[in-house]
């Protein structure tokens, strides 16, 4: 290149750079070091994944709910540190005699983040908005479909029947029949109250299914609730979501000025970031790291277990499993005490039934099935199933609160089964790569599998109803068992009992029957998930429902 051409090239490049630079102005406010919110400190939380969007109604995953929970509130709340239902935006709720009409008395001092008043009309607007969904919304609004069963276009099948504002701060919600889930389900993040004006302006129900996914309306990027934090921004390029303190909050204002959720998918990186002090906490530290994290001055906040890990058995895939003796033999073969001690974190417990002991309907008289390999062999011989082959599956590429390391749990169970002469055929698939399809297919493909459940709210039906209530479409193949329909009917009947004590007793009896007479699957354990916060962070109250609210958190004593 000649010197002349070089000069021309460099001059052009410099001119281009200068033009670009003149177009780009710094958008920093130049107001010095932040405002009042920033002065109050920032809590930076390492999130395992990015949020789906910010409208909790359409959200399905924990990472999204963790963020929306700080901005939204429901009519009912959850007592921090427990699963107990407490007043939130409603101060009282009373049912009519048959449990189909619920009158909610609302707080009269609440406004939405956009200044709109919270009142009975806003409540009814929200319920009608959730009820009246287009085709895409009906599929995407997963939690409404799950708890309310149907939408406006199929109103006869829906639990929700209507909402009436009977006073400025009194709303009556009508449901089709009593159920244990109502009104507890109103603690669900998806059923939170949102600003009617913002919903309207942001075309909140304008969801569409296109291009093999859902496209969300503008509202999903600019949510408006009543909670202690307001939406700040989502810096997608840097993977950060910022929430700002709501200084006009009706309750006690949050201690920190900002919460930043930083997306760090890799767990070991989250730990390193915590050690470097660039984040203040993260969820689900690996139980093997708990001691080390504590030694480094961090605080591991262990939640009470509100989950169940079970060994699913599928008589449709292996007819030998139809025999109760075979199922009992498998249960006796498992050394669950050792599994809990060696593979699960401190605080884990052997399960006696398909729900944790904090749920109403838990049967305290049930004892764990004893680890008894001889009894297992005897039962197998009696059933003529000695040397039976069991295709037993576990998932890869996943950890769950009830299952920190699926492979190790599986190995422990497999070893026990082989010790009583069962010929175990190992099958694996990745969680999203076929495992769930094979487990929940109709019929399921595996003879046996490990899976579990974390409760959505304090309800027996949310556990055993989810597992066995849907006769035709459950993972245990109970429709092929002589007692399957009876169990589903009993669950429905118990769920519809209005009196709480009576309902609890009915669920206790069903739990006894499940464990002593039916044994459709084998409950293994309850495992306490934890979250960890760094030095100087105070006020985190671990929630059994993994529903922590960060308004009580302080960082560095601020």
């Amino acid at each position: 290149m000649s010197p002349k051409r070089t000069l021309v090239t460099w001059t052009t490049a410099l001119l281009a750079a200068a033009t670009l630079a003149s177009c780009a102005e710094s958008e920093r406010d130049g107001g010095g070091e932040g405002g009042a919110s920033e002065d109050a400190g920032t809590f930076i939380f390492g999130a395992a994944g990015a949020p789906e969007m910010f409208d909790p109604y359409y959200a399905t995953d924990g990472e999204t709910f963790r963020i929306t929970r700080q901005m939204f509130e429901g009519l009912l709340g959850i007592e921090p540190g427990s699963a107990e239902v407490v007043p939130e935006l409603a101060t009282e709720w009373t049912p009519n005699e048959d449990g189909t009409e619920w009158t909610f008395t609302l707080r009269d001092d609440v406004t939405f983040h956009d200044g709109e008043p919270f009142n009975a009309e806003a409540v009814c607007y929200n319920f009608e908005r959730m009820f009246d969904q287009n085709e895409a919304g009906q599929v995407a609004g997963e939690y409404w479909g799950y708890v309310m069963r149907a939408y406006k276009n199929n109103a006869a099948d829906a639990l929700y029947q209507g909402c009436e504002a009977t006073g400025e701060f009194e709303a009556v919600i009508t449901i089709s029949g009593p159920t244990s889930g109502f009104p507890t389900m109103l603690t669900l993040e998806s059923l939170s109250m949102q600003s009617p004006k913002a919903l309207e302006e942001g075309d909140a129900n304008g969801i569409a299914a296109e291009g093999e996914g859902f496209s969300f309306p503008a509202y999903a990027d600019a949510p408006v609730g009543t909670g202690p934090f307001t939406f700040g921004e989502f810096d997608e390029a840097n993977g950060e979501i910022t929430l700002e303190r709501n200084d006009d909050y009706w309750g006690e204002t949050a201690k920190v000025g900002e919460i930043v959720f930083r997306v760090i998918p890799d767990e070991s990186t989250r730990r390193q970031e915590l050690e470097a002090g660039s984040i203040n906490g993260y969820d689900l530290p690996n139980p093997v790291d708990w001691a080390g994290l504590e030694e480094d001055g961090n605080s591991v906040e262990v939640r009470d277990p509100f989950n169940i890990l079970y060994l699913g058995l599928n008589p449709e895939a292996n007819p030998q499993l139809k025999d109760l003796k075979v199922r009992q033999a498998i249960y006796h073969a498992l050394n669950r005490e050792q599994l809990v001690q060696s593979q699960l974190p401190e605080g884990a417990a052997v399960a006696t039934q398909f729900m944790p002991d904090t749920v109403s309907g838990y049967n305290t008289s049930l004892e764990p099935y004893a680890y008894d390999p001889d009894e297992a062999k005897r039962l197998l011989a009696e059933a003529g199933a000695e040397g039976m082959t069991l295709e037993f599956a576990y998932p890869t590429e996943v950890t769950r609160p009830y299952m920190p390391d699926p492979e190790k749990i599986y190995e422990a169970l497999r070893t026990d089964l082989e010790a009583v002469g069962i010929n175990v055929k190992t099958v694996t698939a990745s969680w999203n790569g076929g495992y769930l399809d094979n487990v929940s297919g109709e019929p399921g493909k595996y003879d046996a599998y490990i899976l579990g459940w974390t409760g959505d709210y304090d309800s027996a039906y949310n556990f055993i109803g989810t597992f066995f209530g849907n006769l035709k479409d459950n993972d245990f193949g109970t429709d092929t068992m002589p007692w399957g329909k009876q169990l589903a009917d009993d669950l429905e009947a118990a769920d519809a009992i209005v009196d709480e004590a009576e309902r609890g007793a009915a669920f206790e009896e069903i739990n006894r029957q499940i464990m002593e007479e039916y044994l459709p699957g084998l409950p293994i354990s309850h495992s306490p998930p934890a979250l960890v916060v760094g030095p100087g962070v105070e006020g985190v109250i671990p929630s059994p429902l993994t529903a922590e609210e960060f308004d009580t958190v302080t960082v560095g004593g601020e």
Partner: protein, 336 residues
């Protein structure tokens, strides 16, 4: 030259078409899918079927592909289900591209500025201690997987000595202005020097790890190429004519030795993009590689398709640029 470029661009269209078809069929033949990723434990047959129907995943494959192509010609490549739900996959690609461009450019810059001088010096002092050491070093660079190098770098520089950040692209709360999405450049353009410096610090470790891939190859090719050229008659002739060592080095040896090196650099782009998946994952660096890993794990079909297709297009385009650079370096090619 223009005809050559046009021909290559037409070839590229065919490559992308065939690849899109293969990708479409391959992805959907894998077990599982986005529905499992969305529903989790809540999955039942009824819910799965409803969601599949809503997303059009229950249609026969050819129908799904035709719909995909129909949208694609209108500039819509499918909606993300997990990486950035609700957004078109092409938007996801564009939003992640600057991070990867920044990373690969710095990695290439590090590799080239180290490998070419070292390769030249090693060739000039062939058999010496410095040559042997450099060859061994480059062999290690080839042999050690990039994610392992990344882990080592992160462990020592970020965790143990805490001189550089552990992960991400920019420190939380920096309030940096975004212009191009290239954070270092954005800081320079807006005169937010701290933002630029901070972004550069976040880039150093991933770029160093990623640079080990092209470094080793470029070093070895430079060394071998310089050795070849040094033996050429025209170099001896130049020496006999009494040209200075500087002129011989610059005009005859390096310029001729660079031809295979330039080709190699072009070919390295593919390797760099593959390496970026691992490097970005280790450093939670939000680029195309990180999005690829997430979309594969979460079976985000639309994003996966677009990212792989776009990577293929970049690969073809870069190699086209290499061919053009080749012509600039070698006038004999230009005149053909």
């Amino acid at each position: 030259m223009l005809r050559f470029v046009l021909r290559r661009l037409i070839q590229m269209v065919f490559v992308v078409l065939v690849l899109s078809m293969l990708l479409f069929v391959w992805l959907r033949s894998l077990p599982g899918g986005p529905v499992s990723a969305i529903l989790g434990e809540r999955q039942t047959t009824e819910r799965r079927l409803a969601l599949e129907a809503a997303l059009g995943l229950d249609q026969p494959l050819p129908v799904q592909y035709l719909k995909f192509m129909e949208r694609a010609v209108q500039g819509e490549f499918g909606t993300s289900t997990k990486v950035l739900p609700g957004e078109d996959a092409l938007v996801v690609f564009w939003s992640r591209l600057p991070a990867t461009v920044e990373l690969t450019l710095l990695a290439l810059f590090i590799a080239i500025t180290l490998a070419i001088p070292l390769g030249y010096i090693a060739a000039r002092r062939v058999g010496s201690l410095s040559d042997t050491s450099a060859v061994i070093f480059s062999l290690i660079g080839v042999a050690v997987p990039v994610f392992f190098t990344a882990f080592l770098l992160k462990y020592f520089f970020a965790v143990e000595w805490q001189v550089l950040p552990v992960s991400g692209r920019q420190t939380t709360g920096l309030d940096a202005t975004r212009v191009t999405g290239l954070f270092v450049l954005d800081g320079l353009l807006t005169r937010e020097w701290d933002a630029s410096w901070d972004a550069l610090k976040h880039l150093i470790l991933p770029a160093l790890a990623l640079a080990t891939i092209p470094f080793s190859v470029i070093f070895r090719i430079t060394r071998a190429s310089v050795l070849d050229v040094l033996d050429e008659d025209y170099v001896r002739t130049a020496e006999a004519k009494g040209l200075t060592a500087k002129v011989i080095r610059g005009r005859h040896v390096l310029r001729n030795a660079m031809l295979p090196v330039v080709t190699t650099i072009g070919l390295q782009v593919g390797g760099l993009l593959a390496g970026a998946i691992l490097t970005e994952t280790v450093f939670s660096y939000r680029g195309v590689g990180d999005a690829l890993a997430t979309s594969f794990r979460e079976k985000d079909y639309a994003v996966l398709q677009v990212l792989i297709l776009a990577t293929a297009v970049i690969y073809v385009l870069v190699n086209l640029l290499v061919d053009i650079a080749y012509a600039v370096l070698d006038p004999r090619i230009r005149t053909r």
